[in-house]
Symmetry: D2
Subunit: 328 residues, 4 copies
């Protein structure tokens, strides 16, 4: 059984103040505002064609409602529902329009505890790729990937690759012999990742990665943030990743939810790509230029919701050490 | 029947002076030299992993030997051989190593007359993506696409999409009602094209497109060419395409073979992408900024070889007018 | 006698529709709007600190009111008034505030016929260099230079260098022996020019040059113009100048006044800089990449006002041919 | 009395291994090698026209031989010699050619202890600004400035501005009332600085700043360094300075001498520029994006030579605290 998952499609962040969050994402970073109601802001990037790539939902604490993947074949929704049910995982159907702009969709609580959504039908909006007059701030093009922390990376890796059909582009192993899998970058679309699995306290969303038009936009993002009073939101970078080769910067939104602005990785058109393998303590792995990440980057991440109750789920610690030696 | 074609894989240009061509491609533009013998230079880009992406072969006139597509499933080679044979088209098997670094491969003379190659096995070389010390000149990352002129675009379109399984990203139609298909951009990997079919005298290769690291590299390519005495090789651009959104420049190598340096197009992860449709005389179609292409860009293109005799094939004129009104 | 001229300070364009001009300059190109009244819009760049760098004045035809240079020593205004009076040239004093934000200033009709202004005192405004949240469109940093067409370049050159104290960075001579001076790039601030004198029908302003933050901004200017329906305003470029080394694009505003967006030239801190000398028909002189300028670039330029009557002045043809051989 | 100092002209670093230093500066960073002998390497940037902008001299320990300023008027050399002699400071004449390519020049031990050189005549070399085929690595254009640590900033400031005629672009004061001068950025050429005076253990050279062609080159410098095994040489940045607005990165050469790669500051054509004033603990002052500098950036700097003995001079601590609160 294979599934027609095409890509990371959208994500829903919980925020405690919609206007404050709107200022950060729309006014400063230049996300497009595609729609809104009392409880939600529906945002997107210049290269996206769907109703939303990032939803901000008013809540009493930060966190993540769900991570959504698109499927090309609408019949996969039923097949995925059966798969998760057979594996004893909770599932829930969303009626058309229950999520604005979206057709019937499936939410599942993955074995990792992650709240995943699978959808096929989504309202299209006008394409802004060549509306250069609307490029602003960080020139955010599109949602690129999710990075999640889970205590059992190997089990999650097996599920995502063997059952859901993700491909692995790069991976990180521990220094022991034999080594254990510490993190994996998995993709369905043809670049480095749609989802990265990272060893750590989980289930948590570490960050959502958004693709920028070019490297200058990463610098401009920092400039605009600092000019707008958000210098403190810059948590790590700009830098070059060893993994993925991307130029990146990590930000914390006003609620502490983390996003990555990311560009300049590579394409993987061939399914027989041999994953690039890194040792966890290689100093060029996380930041090719050698910069040490701050400890907050390992300690802090976003809790995720139960798809049944909407409550934030408890977390468990990982058996493996949750960070490399190379941290400030 | 579907085929596992993954991407445009490599192309072989005929050149009349290997050293002269090497200076242009390697010394000035910064292509990597992966290998050579008396008759061939095997070149590549920084993001590529295979033995060659561009071969230069010594010949008594310019032109193109073959355009190669990779297949993920080696069994597709036999299936493609049968398909072409059943359609009455010439095919020829290449033994492993007959083309340096390559396993057993299939050449066919397509119904359009184009000499296509399909291959699966190709020697891998060390990856240079993060060998930034080897970035030079135009920072050429990889072969991106072929653009061919054929007299019967509609027939070629039908074959490539319905039989070979290519997807259409964008297309151009004539101004008449009902309109005729004038050009189509077709892809297997997830960006705008692996092959573009353009109405014109054919079969001819119009150009091979190579992907650059960023927009600055397009400007730098012009700077380095001019500083090295190759200003005359710049035929058109730099400019922004309406189609594909790419920043581009077209060059003529010392033999007149045309390449495009190209960057900043978009990705298409969803198979149900609805093609963007342009009228041929839309002034923003070819160059979004409004620049008119020179007439040479329509008049001149590279002849292609017979896969059986190695001779250059005769061409036929198209029934449709071969260019927009919008030409200098 | 030497004068303390520091730089090209501002220019006043005549426009026939203020709102239309505002859309082009402010909404699309991102000039800052520093002030306005019924007859004027006062614009500026992100790096400028004065009340205006570009004034748009409502008039019944396009053209140029005056070109202003700043002097560091306010006493130079009287000395310049005497100098021009002694040379039989018309002068006129502007009272403080007669030009908004400006102190007492001097206008003269130069021997070339050009309406020059000299000023010292100008209202300062808040600096926007680090207001990255206000960077938009072309990221226009500052007025850089004036380029004028005059029939007698040698005489104008002598006056500007020997009497006004300008330095020459680069010059162009005809192909004859002995050669005649065809154009000269003259500066007071330490880059390539504050004013360029070009052989041609004159007195006319050929263009005002504005400095952009970087090369990407030249490309972005074209993108934003085309996305906003102004593709036709792009007259020439983007390209690299041989002279000055700058990356450039020439635009025509909705009234036909010409501006250049310009970046990446070089600095000249030493007064004993030896001018770079070009022959007029060197194909890399005007565009290093070899592109031919369009004939409109030579045929069309802006008439200038009489400082006494405000009427546009008649022009005279030059004795030398007004363009290189290298034109489309 | 005023002097015709035009700019920071060149600097001489002591290095303990010429080949190792050559690899770092020439092979990796792309400095031009203009000449060499057994004891020296004479390097330069693409925009420079003189014999050397950076000299590496073989010595038994790192450090700095002298910091050189060019004077436009050769007669200033005698006047400067008298000035320093009258102030009881050591002076020494260098015969023409004693420093390769240079005419008669003056060295002085400034009151701060800094070994300054003043020169007028220097051999010109071919200009490489448009030799884009020779751009490599970090695309180093030219020496921009010196940054020195001295215990008595106020006294040094008075001397440089009142006696030598430097202008102040920006300054930093302590948080006390009344505040003390903590650092000053001084210029003769028309950008932010030729020399910065910073409170600290001194006399020491903190760093020499080199100007790059654009922001991309700062990123590329890091990429090339890391790819060449020099990731550890990246001490601080890339980042945006609040002061000067420049995009920067600080590097340590294999001997520990510090250089800054720097671009995108602003011009100051007007002598009545009002200096920008920063409080030392403003978090956006040193790094606009809010990053804290490492303590090594304050603790470590290069000793300077006696112009008489060639021995490295002892240092004194400053009475003011030597760093802001904002340090990792």
């Amino acid at each position: 059984m294979t599934f027609s998952i095409t890509r990371a499609g959208h994500i829903e962040f919980r925020v405690t103040d919609l206007e404050r969050a709107r200022h950060f994402y729309v006014e400063v970073l230049g996300f497009l505002e595609n729609g809104r109601d009392d409880q939600h802001l529906y945002l997107g990037g210049l290269e996206e064609r769907e109703h939303h790539g990032l939803t901000l939902r008013l809540a009493d604490s930060p966190g993540v409602s769900h991570l959504a993947f698109r499927v090309a074949d609408p019949g996969d929704l039923e097949r995925l529902a059966r798969l998760y049910a057979e594996n004893g995982r909770p599932t829930r159907w969303l009626a058309p329009g229950e999520e604005a702009g979206q057709g019937r969709a499936l939410r599942v609580q993955d074995a990792t505890g992650l709240p995943l959504e699978f959808y096929h039908e989504m309202e299209r909006r006008d394409w802004r790729l060549q509306r250069f007059d609307q490029y602003r701030g960080a020139n955010v093009m599109r949602l690129d990937h999710f990075n999640v922390q889970v205590p059992q990376v190997q089990a999650a890796y097996d599920w995502f690759t063997q059952t859901l059909g993700f491909y692995c582009s790069e991976l990180t192993v521990t220094e022991e012999e034999p080594p254990s899998l510490w993190a994996a970058w998995l993709h369905r679309k043809q670049n480095v990742h749609d989802i990265a699995l990272m060893n750590g306290v989980g289930p948590r969303l570490h960050h959502a990665g958004f693709w920028l038009a070019n490297q200058e936009s990463v610098l401009r993002a920092c400039d605009v943030l600092a000019a707008s009073g958000y210098a403190d939101s810059i948590e790590r970078g700009p830098g070059r990743h060893g993994i993925s080769n991307a130029l990146f910067v990590y930000l914390r939104d006003p609620d502490g939810n983390r996003i990555e602005l990311y560009t300049n990785d590579y394409i993987i058109p061939d399914p027989d790509w041999e994953p690039i393998r890194w040792r966890i303590n290689d100093p060029r792995r996380a930041t090719f230029w050698g910069h040490k990440p701050p400890s907050s980057w390992f300690d802090e991440a976003a809790l995720v919701e139960s798809i049944e109750t909407g409550k934030l789920l408890p977390t468990s610690p990982p058996p493996l050490r949750d960070r490399p030696e190379f941290v400030t």
